[in-house]
């Protein structure tokens, strides 16, 4: 069975104080339905990726909440897997199509974070960690700082190399109307920004954001016109690892990423060398460096230099990484992120990425991580 991405729409990511979760959902879902050229009633199920509506907003029952708001009387389910909630929602939607029970489904990734104080958000996000990590006074920057320190020690990775990730992703975000930070920065800006959890500084970290993203997947698609290049889901894979960082054999790679990638490459019959572009989970700059290595794009310890040299920047030799601006500069509304990654890859493979179009892109990958690596989702999309 082939599953096509019929459409993908995203709101602007950022501090959207004038918008509610309801209005964000309306905006993206109506766009996605229009773009797909279908009637709303043709969608047979709704999958919502969301992490914080309960803990921050006091609203649970989110599947029914959005089905009601969108006027969809269909089975609706909310899927939570911390910052990978969006990717997991896409995975579950794919599985539902593979059963043959549904032919066309809607996925909504959504998060409203800036209505709350940053320290409340930070605390809510730590719900994705372990009890011991919370008792140690750890934060998410702290968890990734522990990985950064170990990676620096083992491979000689530098703060400049990490900064280069932020610089590249801010450059890409300037080409994306929907990105949170449309502002170029320099390596020096990153190095001089306030320290958050040594060695990570403010500009090594993705922001707190609001945003929503919707996609429509279908197993009974028709190519609309000769202009349209259908984009297919070639693989959808999930893997898990220990919840707590300290329980892992080492701190220099994410086993969940490696396992999910291996499964995805196998499913698609492809390897890392076939990937033209990827949206990867750069919640912190070190995370993009580790993802480059764990997804097999670079040898362990070699990604930092390649990023610093510009190999993964639009126009570089590739693979082109985070053309949307990533989580770092595109914004990171946690439940929406994994779905937005699919939208960016879809836009690239269908030739709709505008100023940031990667020329001749045929195969793209999306990589979404929960917590400090307790779970990872990898999707591969293709227009072949």
């Amino acid at each position: 069975m082939q599953i096509a991405v019929l459409s993908g729409a995203t709101t602007k990511f950022g501090e959207l104080w004038e918008q509610s979760p309801r209005s964000l959902a309306q905006e993206v879902v109506s766009q996605a339905i229009e773009q797909a050229g279908i009637e709303k009633k043709e969608t047979q199920a709704l999958f919502v990726g969301n992490m914080l509506a309960g803990i921050l907003g006091g609203q649970e029952n989110i599947g029914a909440f959005f089905a009601d708001e969108l006027g969809l009387e269909v089975p609706a389910v909310r899927i939570e897997g911390a910052c990978a909630s969006g990717g997991l929602a896409v995975h579950q939607a794919v599985l539902s199509l593979l059963t043959g029970k549904y032919q066309t489904v809607l996925i909504l990734g959504i998060e409203k974070m800036t209505d709350y104080k940053p320290e409340e958000v930070a605390q809510a996000l730590m719900a994705a960690g372990s009890d011991e990590e919370r008792k140690a006074g750890l934060t998410f920057p702290g968890l990734y700082a522990l990985m950064a320190q170990a990676h620096m020690e083992k491979y000689g990775t530098t703060e400049e190399e990490m900064a280069a990730v932020a610089v590249k992703n801010h450059f890409h975000a300037c080409l994306n109307e929907k990105a949170q930070f449309k502002k170029e920065i320099t390596i020096d800006d990153v190095l001089k920004s306030a320290k958050v959890a040594d060695p990570l500084k403010l500009l090594d970290c993705s922001p707190i954001s609001d945003g929503a993203t919707a996609i429509i997947l279908s197993s009974k698609f028709k190519v609309q016109s000769s202009r349209d290049k259908p984009v297919f889901i070639a693989a959808s894979a999930v893997a898990t690892d220990t919840l707590a960082l300290a329980d892992r054999e080492d701190l220099i790679s994410l086993k969940a990423t490696k396992k999910a990638a291996r499964k995805a490459y196998q499913m698609a019959g492809l390897g890392p060398e076939d990937i033209d572009l990827a949206e990867v989970h750069d919640c912190f700059t070190i995370a993009e460096i580790m993802a480059m290595e764990d997804l097999g794009f670079f040898e362990k310890g070699k990604a930092g230099q390649a990023i610093l040299k510009g190999e993964t920047k639009i126009g570089g030799k590739g693979p082109i990484i985070n053309s949307s601006g990533g989580l770092k500069a595109g914004g990171h509304p946690v439940g929406a992120t994994g779905v937005k990654q699919i939208v960016e890859v879809f836009n690239q493979l269908s030739g709709q990425a505008g100023k940031r179009q990667v020329k001749g892109a045929k195969i793209g990958l999306a990589h979404n991580v929960a917590g400090s690596g307790a779970l990872a989702v990898v999707h591969i999309l293709s227009n072949l």
Binding site: E119, E120, D131, K135, A136, L138, T139, M147, A197, P199
Partner: protein, 99 residues
Amino acid sequence: MISPVKIWRHQKKVNQLLGKTGKIVSFTLIRVAPVEFKQQVPYPVVVVRIEDGRGVVGQLVDWEKKNLKLGQKVKTVYRKIREPESEGIIPYGIKFKPC
């Protein structure tokens, strides 16, 4: 608020980690802290490999800058974790100290 029952249950696990030594395998210095740890910043959090091979995460106390390095030997100590909240119980747990 953390359930007092949960705090009580956790206390029983703390015993297993008393009197252990190990080495730091990674560290960070937290400068922007969660609400209930705000008064303590900046504070180091370390991942320690203890003798039996287990990895344990915790704060480092009684530290100097020179202790923040991989391979630093540390031992477990029993300390207050944070200020009590409305439950009125002071949570205690494991932290590390250079040795």
